[in-house]
């Protein structure tokens, strides 16, 4: 076995987390909730009481959402994935995580500055949805597509960037642009995750004697 083969085995093990589509389904659900948040802002206006309450509780909602998603993903994996293809606990590489955080933070700053500069030139430009699309696309391509070696994340990343770019020129109110962005991205994630889960369940039927030794 050559060292190149060993690296391929390591990458295959790392992408196991995404092979059942459950993480995408959960991410899609989170995006749809975010879309609803911006829809409410758009309907009631940014200065309405409902929007102010939502804005104040956004951080709380995000934290609760993140914990909820983690709980749901673990529950679904325990019921669907682990009995079929086994359980894996991933190691948290702090140095790697730090490096990724710096890369994303740096890229986000660059994109934010570039979009603000661009927005000064083009009035009809909605820089917020453009930045959001670029960031989501970047995360999907770099952190999911490249590191896990899964092609569908490249497609999802490119779609996010394109969606953000198209909506930034739509001339709609920012809240509606973000509603459309998160809503459509969420639906795309759910469709992609659903198809992946369907294929996974089809390819790995539950064996009666399945379970760990």
């Amino acid at each position: 076995m050559q060292t190149q083969d060993l690296s391929q085995i390591e990458q295959r093990v790392k992408r196991y987390w995404y092979e059942d589509g459950i993480a995408e389904l959960a991410g899609g659900g989170m995006f749809i909730l975010l879309g609803l948040y911006f829809a409410i802002q758009g309907i009631f206006g940014e200065k309405s009481l409902v929007s102010v309450i939502l804005q104040v509780s956004l951080a709380l909602l995000m934290i609760a959402g993140a914990f909820g998603v983690r709980w749901l993903v673990n529950l679904l994996k325990t019921r669907l994935t682990y009995p079929r293809t086994g359980y894996v606990q991933y190691r948290v590489n702090e140095q790697d995580t730090k490096h990724r955080r710096y890369t994303i933070a740096g890229s986000a700053m660059l994109i934010a500055v570039a979009s603000v500069v661009l927005a000064d030139y083009i009035r009809a430009f909605d820089s917020m949805v453009l930045v959001t699309g670029l960031l989501v696309g970047l995360i999907l391509i770099v952190l999911r597509g490249k590191s896990a070696g899964l092609k569908r994340f490249y497609v999802l990343g490119v779609l996010s960037v394109l969606l953000g770019a198209v909506l930034s020129m739509s001339g709609l109110m920012q809240a509606y642009n973000l509603t459309l962005f998160y809503g459509l991205s969420g639906i795309t994630f759910i469709v992609s995750g659903g198809l992946t889960l369907r294929r996974y369940l089809h390819e790995h039927p539950l064996q009666p004697e399945a379970g760990s030794e």
Binding site: I9, E10, V13, Y82, P83, G86, Y87, V88, Q89, S212
Partner: protein
């Protein structure tokens, strides 16, 4: 004996066996994995996998823990510190052997 041949004879025989090398590679990429996952990834039979895991455990390279995830019984395997070190050494030795050949 040439240095190149000596580097081959110095290889860790416990890890050098292909099935055990596969197990060590999988476990080096994660914190821990269960028996079913290792069986799926290696394609080994239950008996064969058990035997290789026992040898790795005897060498002190992995630790095996019987537990439950919900109602699912699990045999969790993870590399020990000496296992990680032995695996890294093995890869370095192989890498330098390939480069010198």
């Amino acid at each position: 004996m040439s240095d190149r041949l000596r580097s081959l004879t110095d290889l860790d025989r416990v890890i050098h066996e292909p099935a055990r090398l596969l197990i060590m590679t999988i476990l080096s990429a994660v914190d821990s994995a269960d028996f079913l996952f290792l069986q799926n990834e290696t394609g080994l039979t239950k008996g064969n996998l058990s035997s290789h895991l026992s040898k790795l455990e005897e060498a002190g390279y992995i630790e095996i823990q019987k537990t439950f995830k919900g109602k699912l019984p699990m045999t969790i395997c993870r590399l020990t510190e000496s296992g990680q070190l032995a695996y890294q050494n093995y890869r370095q030795q192989m890498q330098s052997f390939i480069e010198n050949t």
